[in-house]
């Protein structure tokens, strides 16, 4: 995992770090959404959403579940061998993240 790649200038550390930073930013956005809703629209948090749960509970539980899912996805992404032959696999994860 740690060898340098000749074709791209990206080392495995840098690649992991890039994936990590993107996922952190994505999570931070979802988390901020929760804080903004709680602060500015507290009444909205009491409105029923999915499964008969109010928005506050559904969003709160979702934040925990999403963190677990992100952790698993991250582990899968960084395990994909980063050699020139699989450079396509390297592209794929990035698009997956932006779609998430």
């Amino acid at each position: 995992m740690k060898q340098k790649i000749t074709r791209s200038h990206e080392t495995s550390e840098q690649r992991k770090s890039n994936i990590g930073v993107r996922m952190t930013i994505l999570y931070a956005i979802v988390y901020s959404g929760f804080v903004v809703l709680s602060v500015f629209f507290p009444a909205l948090m009491g409105v029923e959403s999915i499964f008969g749960l109010n928005l506050a509970i559904a969003y709160g539980l979702a934040l925990i579940v999403i963190a677990i899912i992100f952790a698993i996805i991250y582990n899968l992404l960084v395990r994909i061998p980063n050699t020139p032959n699989t450079s396509q696999a390297l592209q794929q994860p990035d698009t997956e993240i932006s779609e998430d």
């Binding site: 995992m1 550390e13 992991k16 770090s17 994936i19 990590g20 930073v21 996922m23 952190t24 999570y27 931070a28 988390y31 929760f34 804080v35 709680s38 602060v39 500015f40 507290p42 009444a43 948090m45 009491g46 499964f51 008969g52 749960l53 109010n54 928005l55 506050a56 509970i57 709160g60 539980l61 934040l63 925990i64 579940v65 963190a67 677990i68 992100f70 952790a71 698993i72 991250y74 582990n75 960084v78």
Partner: protein, 678 residues
Amino acid sequence: MGGYFVANSSINWGVNGIAFAGSYLSVASFLGICGLIAFFGYDGFLYSIGFLAGWIIALFVIAEPMKRMGTFTFSDALNHRFNHRGIHLAAGISVLVVSLFYLVPQMVGAGVLIEPLLGIPHYWGVIIVGTAVILIVAVGGMTSTTYVQFFNGGLLLVFAAILTGAVLMRGVTTANRVNEEGSTDLQNFQYQEISAELAGEILLVDLFDAQVIERYATVDSNTGMENLVLYHISHLIPATPLAENQYSVSIKGRTIPFSTTAGDSFWYVEQMDGLPYLRIQDWWRLIPGEDGAYRLIETQFRAVRPDGMVIINGAPEDSSIRLRQVGGISSIPAIHGQGTGAVGPLKMLSVMADPETTILQPRSVVFTSDAGDRITVYYNQPVSGSVFMRPGLLFPLEAKDGEPATTTLLNRLNFISLMLALFLGTAALPHILIRYYTVPDPDAARKSTIVAIISIGLFYIFTMYLGVGAINSGALNPETSNMSAPLLARSFGEILFAMISGIAFTTVLATVSGLIMAASGAVAHDLMSNISRHTFADNTKVLVGRIVAVVFGIIGVILGIFFRDMNVSFLVGWAFAVAASANLPALVMMLFWKKTTAKGIIASILVGILSSVTLILLSPDMWARYGLNPAHAPMPINQPGIVTIPLSFAILVVVSLATAKKSPETTKKLEVKQSIEV
């Protein structure tokens, strides 16, 4: 030396992952959050969310670089590029300060637990746990700490799951099943509710030979309306004669025998129509009803007289005369009848959040009576489930009638500040950071963090059920929210109670030993040699590490006694704020900003510590602790993170730019520019 401080970096990643959970899931997560949810509803769960969200940064940003760049402490990683002894000094100080802030709530939790379990005073609980931890750490070091944390993490997960299962089996119910001391007269007791009339200032009330001694009301500062009206009433209750000068009375469902022989002047028996009555003075809450009618509801109270005597509900406090348990649910949607029976996890939360569900929220008010007694009145406030299960009861975010705009703004800033500190603080906690050095390589660091996120995430989902289960059980201690989880367990039987209490102890041991290890490592690796500029032999470092463990443990014990009645999650919120302000900007910028300099890192850490600790010491909550009026505190909000975290980032950038060495490239550009000008 690597054996004492980092367990020879030989811990398996799976074990390390669960040890992360055991170390991180402190009494704040276990006792504190459960108590906050039971007492304040949804707002307690906000801590669960924030505590878990922080692990995202720990995993994605911090885990692997920490392991790659360091060997013993996170200051190794910070100093990776610079080789500047000032970084070790600043980081070492930061570890000590943050560990101390985190240590205090753990010690408070230990005392809270041991007090009711062994019937000994709070400070003894703190001292006993402190001694146990000091022994584990000073003798065993990181390896034994790791396994204490591993077993604790595993036990916490398993028993939180069992307790959640039991809560779901019970469902949401209005049935009275208070399991106080296994006593049936307590279980069948209902608080008295009597009708009353107000004729002008005079209260007419249906109590025997009643006289109003005092009226006390709290006034809403925004609307000027009275929102809680209490009456101190002297009246007679029937006494049962047992023998000559021996009687018993029933106070709040508790049968209390007493004697009126000489020397015991507290009990005053009057004869009425040949029957004995005891004169009692207690506090009642007045609630306006329909058509100008009123109701008086019995409350519980604790009064401390000027001479130090403590009165509980009208009788002198002793081991059998204590406050009753509180909480419970008074109504649920009609389709469920008395109770839902066993429910699924989602159904449970939706019934709890139903507008037709009424939750009896435990509240209290503290004031000084006309006679100079320090009075605390405990009462249940009925709250709709739809209010209880959304943000607002602990952190008031919605603007209330007549509330000044600045108050609303400050409340909101306080909340944002807390959520920011929780998100950014986790990855900067010293006892979490040291666990990265106990595994062999960066891959193991990553994998163990993932195990940690999964297990901690599951645990935090369980906390929601423990919290609503606790309020549902009606078995809460009105004086401290921290006991809610063990009391919930006791409502299912003594066996679960014993197990949960035992696990709560290992929780304290696991977290505190991690904190003391971090402090011990910081002194031995970062402070000692860099202050004296000497290199010390490995066995000297280990010896110093052990001595620091002892000293640090003793300081924790003393502070744990001082802060005894504060909710432990609340205190931990401060530790996160200090960690996030002191360490996180340095860690993140060192990894991602190439212009970061050693001086920038040092300045950022020191300013982060100083500013966050200063703002905490100037906060309204600390003002109240000093015995001053919280409204006059210089810092208007309790949570400093929103000010100090950006400040620490800014200081790092400014100082780094000011102290930057000119890199070859910039020098070349300058030369070119100069030559053109020439």
